[in-house]
């Protein structure tokens, strides 16, 4: 059976953070109810065309999914289970923010079969949390973390953010160490650098941010510290204890099939990409009317060229890189034929490197440390148009 992943978007937050440009907004209970109902309708509607697929991962992201009551989350997952075939041991993740998690909700999530939590901490420094516009303190987080551990979850990710206002190399080091010394330590850490995006308060009114050199040093010590603590970097911004890499995210980079439910959610099934409409009212309206909530202009049947481009620039996000044999198997041509001299050139410049895996007999191409720093420069060269 073919594999399929599911992403479910919950666009609600207690308050919007100053740097955030994801689709989310504070809202009323009644709207949340209608939204969850619309989501379930969409999930059911799509299931009819997914009979040959087995679900290997589910990811509930946001916004702040943990803002929903336990019953609503249970309802969403129940709808998935009742309409799709689930693989045994399917990874089911939910994003949760300190300040919105209760023992009751944790209990509901366990009942629903959620087996992975992703906690948005961002920083262990209260002045930094405040500058980001977060609603919680580090103490709030510690309280929540204890609660989570007590409820039996063990597959936990902590989201952190570097290059944020008021941050120094020393404070970032402290944050990393504080997280690694939690009891028990999380098995997965995401560490993104802040990017000031358009249409955010930070864009309108940009605070003082760490200088570029400082930011790169933060990036470097992230890997050093986490490596010492037993975490392996497996993607540009993701670190995990061996065996705990997020399977859902890897589906994106490996160009697996996935369906996105909810407003603005992106899907890719059999080389067709599309996104859902981004406006909440219309989304609910469409779903209630039994219609597809797809943004028509986003529909894109990927050409072979586009598939090759994606294979390269998505695959290179991972530290293991791209497999030359896979490329040949999928496209019937070698990377060298399609991208003559590009790989060689970047290898000479020290941005890419090659590895031969004796066990599998496979040839892999991956970014070097420096290549990761300037990854766009490398990835852009793999665009074909």
């Amino acid at each position: 059976m073919k594999k399929l992943s599911i992403y479910i978007h919950i666009p609600f937050c207690v308050r919007k953070c100053l740097y955030c440009d994801f689709l989310s907004a504070p809202t009323e209970r009644e709207v949340m109810d209608r939204y969850v109902n619309a989501l379930c309708r969409e999930i059911i509607k799509k299931s009819s065309i997914c009979k040959e697929y087995i679900i290997t991962t589910v990811f509930i992201g946001g916004g702040t999914p943990s803002i929903l009551s336990g019953e609503r989350i249970e309802k969403i997952i129940r709808t998935v289970r009742e309409n799709y075939q689930m693989e045994a041991g399917c990874e089911i993740s939910i994003e949760a923010n300190p300040g919105t998690i209760t023992p009751d909700k944790l209990e509901s999530w366990r009942r629903a079969g959620i087996n992975r939590l992703s906690i948005g901490l961002q920083s262990a420094q209260n002045n930094e949390l405040k500058a980001l516009g977060r609603i919680h303190s580090f103490e709030d987080f510690l309280y929540t973390y204890k609660m989570i551990v007590k409820s039996g979850f063990d597959n936990i990710n902590i989201d952190l953010m570097s290059a944020i206002p008021k941050q120094t190399i020393a404070s970032w080091q402290e944050t990393l160490k504080a997280v690694c010394s939690l009891n028990p330590p999380p098995v997965h850490i995401s560490a993104y650098s802040l990017i000031v995006e358009e249409n955010t308060p930070f864009y309108e009114n940009t605070p003082k941010l760490p200088e570029e050199d400082e930011e790169r040093n933060m990036y470097k010590i992230t890997n050093d510290i986490l490596f010492d603590m037993g975490y392996m970097q497996y993607e540009i911004s993701n670190y995990a204890k061996p065996g705990y890499e997020c399977r859902h995210n890897q589906v994106y980079w490996r160009r697996g099939n996935y369906l996105g439910f909810g407003i603005g959610a992106a899907s890719m099934v059999e080389n067709v990409r599309y996104s859902n409409i981004r406006e909440l009212g219309s989304y609910i309206h469409f779903c209630e009317g039994g219609l597809d909530a797809i943004e028509k202009t986003s529909l894109n049947h990927l050409s072979e060229k586009e598939q090759m481009e994606e294979f390269m620039f998505l695959g290179l996000r991972m530290t293991e890189g791209v497999c030359e044999e896979d490329f040949y198997r999928i496209f019937g041509a070698s990377i060298e034929e399609i991208y003559p001299e590009i790989v060689e050139d970047f290898c000479r410049k020290g941005l890419l490197k090659r590895k031969f895996n004796r066990k599998t007999g496979e040839h892999w191409i991956m970014l070097t440390r420096y290549g990761i720093d300037v990854s766009n420069t490398v990835m852009a060269e793999f665009l074909l148009s």
Partner: protein, 604 residues
Amino acid sequence: MAQIDQSKIRNFCIVAHIDHGKSTLADRIIEMTGLLTSREMQAQVLDNMELERERGITIKAQTVRTIYKAKDGEEYVFNLIDTPGHVDFNYEVSRSLAACDGAILVVDAAQGIEAQTLANVYLALDHNLEVFPVINKIDLPSAEPDRVKNEIEDVIGIEAQDAPLISAKNGVGIEDVLEAVVQKVPAPGGNPEKPLQALIFDSIYDSYKGVIIFCRIMEGRVAKGTSIRMMATGATAEVVEVGYFGAGQFITCEELSAGMVGYITASIKNVKDTAVGDTVTDAENPCAEPLPGYKKVNSMVYCGVYPADGAKYPDLRDALEKLQLNDASLHYEPETSIALGFGFRCGFLGLLHLEIIQERLEREYNLDLVTTAPGVIYKVHTTKGEVIELTNPSNLPDPSEIEYMEEPVVSAEIMVTTEFIGSIMELCQERRGRYLGMEYMEETRALLKYDLPLNEIIYDFFDALKSRSRGYASFDYELKGYEQSELVKLDILINKEEVDALSFIVHKDSAYERGRKMCEKLKDEIPRHLFEIPIQAAIGGKIIARETVKAMRKDVLAKCYGGDITRKKKLLEKQKEGKKRMRQIGSVEIPQKAFMSVLKLDDK
């Protein structure tokens, strides 16, 4: 078509400073007069098919024939000949004036006389035109018609007390202007029975008709079938059609005779053959002498024009060819730059002309261009006694072979209110101006006279003038001649490699300053690479300035949240697109616009 009585024709133009209301007045005159005499009106109805065929051709110059029924009950034919307003087109202005018998001088009731007004009035008086003033914008609260009248009489020396007071914007006093045209502009002279003698004051290329000659018939007559000869270029052709100018259309007629203004078509393929200022005569019955005043127009400003995408070179060549059909003053020849590949060195009348051509190439022909810094023609006297006319700095011989160099100098007249005299003199000083004198127009205004090197005014002199006088200064110039000057070639090295397209010639005293600014500007324009890039300015191998573009340490990462990769892809596409628009010099990629950055050295 009915024969027109010569005494009922008025050929005139409007001279004014920019913004004093020339085109508004022209529009009002066209509105308030008819396009046809009442007898022609009937003829036009019959001729409708013909007219339809002609429609859609727009006339470049706003030369237009209208009919005015005057208070004396007679119908008069008005030929209003438009004159280009910019100093770049001085020669064209003079030829247009030569086609007229009179000129309306429009003066702004609040601003009074400006440098350009003066230049144009003197040009009109030089051509023996009857000039009469009208005072425009009397509706403005700041209007001072009496002061302006006195100023006109004092400064120009023409009668102004009975000048019509008008507001072209509001249509006030236009009839007075029309009556004044009838009364003050003399009827044209000339004998229709003499051999043909017609002055070309403009010509355009039309893909159906070939070249269309705009002319004033001084003597004789011309009709379909006449064999004509251009006396300066020697080109001959048989007339296919003659006619006059309706508003936005050509209207054919049977013949043009002495005193009339109209057009001739004769299957001529290139406007080069119909140079502005040339005389058209009857090949079989030629006039004894051409009309006076013809001169070949020379380019004043040169620059390299390259396609942003090297593959578009043939498109650029075709576009230039087509533009030249319509603009004989555009010169071009192929050249090659190490940095920019294949392109053309183009010559223009001035910077405005350059900008117009560049814009037409980009808009009408959809080309992306890289232009190098504009320069003038230098005369290089070599030790062997040769004189090289240098249009491209890269062709400058080795300093050891140069005896001395000369640069073009213009005589400039700057009109300025007294409060800004100091800052304008300072500006002229900075631009190596030689002060010749100052005349007070009235208590608050003066005319400054300077000799200025042309290469100091082609970039941004006009802007600087405006900004240092809060927009009040006005400026006019003409080429004076060549003068010996201490000039050096400034080279730019990027990552130790000389970039030919960035070299320019500069006076040795400003070389250091310009070199330093150039390096600073390029540092901002060149994106960071994976390695450090030195940018240096050098004169004859000696480095005089340096900046460094630091090596790139990181890219911006795009999130791919929830599997939405579209933003990431867009970011990469933008990066790749940006790279496409760069020029590779050695291992450095230089954005196209960096080549133009030398133009903006004075930006603050």
